[in-house]
Each structure stands twice: as structure tokens, then as C-alpha cells.
């Protein structure tokens, strides 16, 4: 059994998850401060990939990054090609997973107590420090949830990926495109093996999340040492 699809899927999911982590948080952080009307518009645009069929997202990606297109042609001059390459898969997965990170992070930021940031500022703490050491820890639960959702979504991405990078064994094949390809070519046995692999990965991710949450949970209940 050729393990390339596993490697490819995991690297696509991992890299896109990192990208989405930062861009999603960044977008959420600034969206919270926008005036209401602008925020509404931005919200629709940024959440669209979540509601659109992934194939439509893939279509848009091809329309933008296709080598015949201005941007795609421009990038191709520098040897950067998103069509039929594995890092095109990163792009597709990131686009589709982005709204999950953005929305959960935004929810967390919205419920963040502003006076914590204000008091940090009046104490003289830099805005960077306040962001990473006060805001992020306070919003940890939401951001962790968003990251997991984004990773899971990226790992399972099929529609936009297959549109943009297709299925080339050993080059662009991911687990999900491999399962489809194997089933289509009547190779049910191998397809089933990949299904199992996918289930194992998902179970591992979920277990890891549960462990993380539990560890955080056990940090807190020192509360029981009540104040005298």
C-alpha cells in the first residue's frame, strides 16, 4: 500500500490549519472592531466558503489561479503554480476551513471582557503583549475549538481540492480523493483500508483535543483552595 495520500493529506491539513489559525484570528480580531454595517458585509464574504458547495469554491480558485488567468499567469512566471500541485491543495483546504476558524474566534473575541485589554493598556503593557498573553488565553477555549474544526475540515476536504489539484497518484492524491478514485475503479478493498486510516486519524485528533481540554480543566479546579 502506497502511503503517499496519508502524508499528503496530513501535510495539506497541517499547513492550511496553521495558515487559517493566523488569518482567521487576524480577521476576527479586526472584524470585531469594525462599524456594524461594514462588519456585516465582511462577515458574509468571509463566511461564504462555509455555505457554498466546495466545488464552487474550487471553481473560484481555478478562475483566479488558473494559469490562463492574470494572477495565475503572473505567479507562474515565478514558478508558483497552484493548479495540479499539492500546495494548491493547501490553498483549497485553507479557503474552505477559514470560516470555521474565523467565526469561532470572532465569537470568542466578542465575549472577551474589554476592560481586561483597557487595564492592560493603562498598566503600560504593549498591545502585542495584551493580545498574546491576555486576550488569547482568555479566548483559549473558542480558539482551540476553531483550530480543531479547521483541521478536521481541511483533512476531509474533497470538492475544492479535486477541482483545483485533481488526482495524481504520488503527486496530488489525498486520502479523500484516493477513496473516491479507488471506489470508482472498483477497488473496494483498498478503498476500505483508506477509510479505516481516515477514521483512525480523526479519532486521534479528537482524543488529543479531549486530553488538551482535560489538562486545562485540571489546572483550574485549584479553586477549591477557597480564600480564608
Amino acid at each position: 500500500m502506497d502511503w503517499f495520500p496519508l502524508l499528503n493529506s496530513v501535510r495539506i491539513a497541517a499547513i492550511s490549519c496553521v495558515i487559517v489559525f493566523f488569518t482567521g484570528i487576524f480577521a476576527a480580531y479586526y472584524a470585531v472592531r469594525l462599524p456594524r454595517a461594514l462588519k456585516g458585509v465582511l462577515d458574509v464574504v468571509l463566511t461564504l466558503p462555509l455555505v457554498l458547495p466546495p466545488t464552487v469554491c474550487g471553481y473560484f480558485l481555478i478562475m483566479v489561479f488558473g494559469v490562463q488567468r492574470p494572477l495565475g499567469a503572473f505567479l507562474a512566471q515565478f514558478g508558483i503554480k497552484f493548479v495540479m500541485t499539492w500546495y494548491g491543495g493547501v490553498l483549497a483546504a485553507a479557503l474552505v476551513a477559514f470560516p470555521l476558524m474565523y467565526r469561532t474566534a470572532r465569537g470568542a473575541f466578542e465575549s472577551f471582557d474589554k476592560t481586561l485589554a483597557y487595564s492592560g493598556q493603562t498598566l503600560g503593557l504593549s498591545n502585542t503583549y495584551i493580545f498574546w498573553r491576555i486576550r488569547m488565553p482568555a479566548c483559549r477555549q473558542g480558539i482551540l475549538a476553531g483550530t480543531v474544526l479547521a483541521f478536521a475540515r481541511a483533512l476531509g476536504e474533497y470538492g475544492a481540492t479535486s477541482m483545483l489539484i485533481g488526482y495524481t497518484p504520488g503527486k496530488t492524491a489525498t486520502i479523500s480523493t484516493t477513496v473516491y478514485q479507488l471506489w470508482r475503479t472498483n477497488n473496494d478493498g483498498l478503498a476500505f483500508k483508506w477509510v479505516l486510516v481516515n477514521i483512525v486519524i480523526s479519532a486521534l485528533v479528537l482524543t488529543a483535543v479531549n486530553l488538551l481540554e482535560k489538562r486545562e480543566g485540571s489546572e483550574k479546579p485549584k479553586k477549591k483552595v477557597a480564600a480564608p
Binding site: 487595564s119 492592560g120 504593549s126 480564600a227
Partner: protein, 371 residues
């Protein structure tokens, strides 16, 4: 040492327009909720930007719309005690207090948000000395604020009073130029409140710089503040010494905030006489009555059945027993039906078997109100 504020801020229908000056004082900012107290404080601290105006603290311009000066909150060196204390929940008491020292280390005066840049320059030797300095300041403030033994607790593991002390320690350790206290006792129950008020009073005396304190509570205002500014719908309507404020609050809103229970419409009928149509009486006053008089106030403790002046027949309508005094609700015999009962409070030992048939008020106890 002085704070001079003159700011305007437009927020939809609401317009904040405030100007006052303090010097080495504790200034109380009084006002109903929504009157713009917190907005004023946040403008001074720099977390909210005023639309126009000027803020000058100890000779340093913090904000000047015309000269386009707007210092970041980090550079203003203002200690801001938030209503909920705003302790960082993910940090221990020690880490919380260290936050207050993080910026103060570099030269004090200006450096705020440049922590990261400064860090690169620091030599190892300076760093070590710095660390020792900070540790010493930390231990000092922990002792002053009686926080010993709590250093490794999280805010959620502290009582309300302890949380407040941590928040104050975190602010004071940075040696701010101005202290802002936003309803510092509102999150505490009444027992703790009294105790902390006395402690805070001592602390403020020792602070020696300007303090702006927001409060709803008249006892707090009276005990802690030298001067009082009254905010009403975004406007500063009264600003004077605390004792004078309580003696002559000038406006209805101020009279209510000082705890005056009986406020009623009145008209000028003579240089030293007012008529109160709702009560069907005329009072002689000690102070000359201004032409724009619109109401008078009489504190519940200031009625006196033995007073000779301003004496009119009354009828008891209800009686409420409090722990240490009685509240008698009475009406003048000529009082109109819609106007509410009048409050009279007397200590328990002064209560007589029979309610007096006539009630008087000394002329100096009639508060003249003009707005």
C-alpha cells in the same frame, strides 16, 4: 500636580461635554448611570478618544485635538481601577502585579509600548539589576497591601476585598501620575465596603497625587472626596467642595444624589420667602432667593417639631422602623393629593408617644434649587 480636562465627545444622540480642573485632590465624579462618568474616565485614560478638547496632567499634554496630540494609554501613566478590577484571570497574583512593573522599568517618563524594542538593547547586567529592582518593588507592595501568602493564587481564588487589593497593588506599583477609581466598592457587600472605605481613605491620603473617583454612593463621596463634580446627561452641572456640595447642591439631581429625600417645586415670593404650592405652605429662608428658583429640598433629618419658624400643621400618614431610627411619613394639612408624603427621620430615642401636630424647619435648612 494637577489635572485639567476639557473634552467633548459625540456618541449618536449623546453628547459628552466636560471640563474641570483638580489640584492634589480627590475629586468625586457623581452622576446617574448613563450620565457619562465612565466615558469621561476612559477619555482621560486614553482608551477612548474624545472628539475634541484637551487633557493636561501635571503639565504634560495627554490629549489636544487642535495640536493633534493623543498619547497612547500606555504612555499616560494613569492608574485605572476598573469596577470589576479587571485582574487577568490566567495569571497569578504575583504575575498580575508584575504587569504593573513591566513598563515602569524603562525611565518611567515616556516608555510604554516599546517593551519589545527595549528588550533588545538591554544588557545582561542591566537585566539582572532590573530584575532585582522589580522583585523589591513587588515585595514592598505585597507587604503594603497585605497580600503576603496569596502570591500564587489566581484571581478566581480570592475574595472580593483581596481582589481589590491586588488590583490596587498592580496599579500603585507602577507609580502612576493619576489614580482613577471607577466605583471601587460597588462589587463588595456592605460589610466589607465600610472597612475598605476606611483603608482606601488612608491609602489615598498617602498617594499624594490627584485621584478621580466615580461613585453612586453619597457616603463614599463625602468620606473620600475633597471636591465633587456632578455629571448630568453628559454635562458637568456642579463642581465644588464636597461640604459645600452637600450644603448647597444647587440642582435637583445633585440634591437627590446627596441623599435629600424631600424635593418639591417652589416659587420665589420674596427676597427671603418661597411658596410651595404642592404642600400649601410658605417658607422663610436664610439665604436670599434667586429669581430662577424652581424647587426646594429639605433633608429628612432637618424637620423639627420644636422649631419655631416655618411651622405648619401636619398629619402622620405612615411610619417605618429602621434599625436605629424611625422614618415618619407625613403630610401638611394643606398638601395636594398627588404630591408624595414627606420624609422625616428621627433617632429612636427621640420618638414621642404622639405624633406632633405641627412641624417646623429652620430657615438655614431649606435648600434652594435652581435646576
Amino acid at each position: 500636580m494637577s489635572l485639567s480636562v476639557e473634552i467633548q465627545k459625540n456618541l449618536g444622540d449623546f453628547r459628552l461635554d466636560v471640563s474641570f480642573e483638580t489640584d492634589d485632590d480627590v475629586t468625586g465624579l457623581l452622576g446617574a448611570s448613563g450620565s457619562g462618568k465612565s466615558m469621561t474616565l476612559m477619555c482621560i485614560a486614553g482608551v477612548v478618544k474624545p472628539s475634541s478638547g484637551r487633557i493636561i496632567l501635571n503639565g504634560k499634554t495627554l490629549f489636544d485635538a487642535e495640536r493633534r496630540i493623543d498619547l497612547a494609554p500606555q504612555q499616560r501613566r494613569i492608574g485605572y481601577l476598573f469596577q470589576n478590577y479587571a485582574l487577568f484571570p490566567n495569571m497569578t497574583v504575583r504575575q498580575n502585579i508584575l504587569c504593573g512593573l513591566r513598563s515602569a522599568k524603562e525611565g518611567g517618563g515616556g516608555g510604554g509600548g516599546d517593551r519589545d524594542r527595549d528588550r533588545g538593547r538591554d544588557q545582561a547586567r542591566d537585566k539582572a539589576r532590573d530584575k532585582a529592582d522589580r522583585e523589591r518593588s513587588l515585595q514592598e507592595i505585597i507587604e503594603v497591601m497585605r497580600l503576603g501568602g496569596l502570591e500564587n493564587r489566581r484571581p478566581s481564588q480570592l475574595s472580593g476585598g483581596q481582589q481589590q487589593r491586588v488590583a490596587l497593588a498592580r496599579i500603585l506599583v507602577g507609580n502612576p501620575e493619576l489614580l482613577i477609581l471607577d466605583e471601587p466598592f460597588s462589587a463588595l457587600d456592605s460589610h466589607l465596603r465600610g472597612q475598605l472605605q476606611i483603608e482606601t481613605q488612608k491609602l489615598l491620603k498617602g498617594f499624594g497625587k490627584d485621584v478621580v473617583l466615580v461613585t453612586h454612593n453619597r457616603d463614599e463621596a463625602y468620606q473620600l472626596c475633597r471636591k465633587i463634580a456632578l455629571l448630568d446627561a453628559g454635562k458637568l452641572t456642579v463642581y465644588k467642595d464636597t461640604k459645600e456640595f452637600f450644603r448647597d447642591p444647587e440642582s435637583r439631581a445633585a440634591a437627590f444624589l446627596t441623599g435629600c429625600k424631600n424635593v418639591v417645586d417652589a416659587q420665589k415670593t420674596g427676597d427671603y420667602e418661597v411658596s410651595v404650592p404642592d404642600w400649601g405652605v410658605r417658607f422663610t429662608t436664610e439665604r436670599p432667593v434667586g429669581d430662577t428658583l424652581c424647587a426646594i429640598g429639605i433633608r429628612a433629618h432637618f424637620f423639627n417639631p420644636k422649631a419655631i419658624q416655618n411651622r405648619f400643621p401636619v398629619l402622620l400618614s405612615d411610619e417605618i422602623e429602621d434599625p436605629f431610627e424611625y422614618t415618619m411619613l407625613f403630610r401638611y394639612t394643606g398638601q395636594t393629593g398627588e404630591s408624595p408624603d414627606i420624609w422625616w427621620k428621627i433617632p429612636k430615642e427621640k420618638r414621642r408617644e404622639h405624633f406632633p401636630t405641627e412641624m417646623g424647619v429652620a430657615p438655614e435648612n431649606i435648600i434652594l434649587l435652581y435646576g
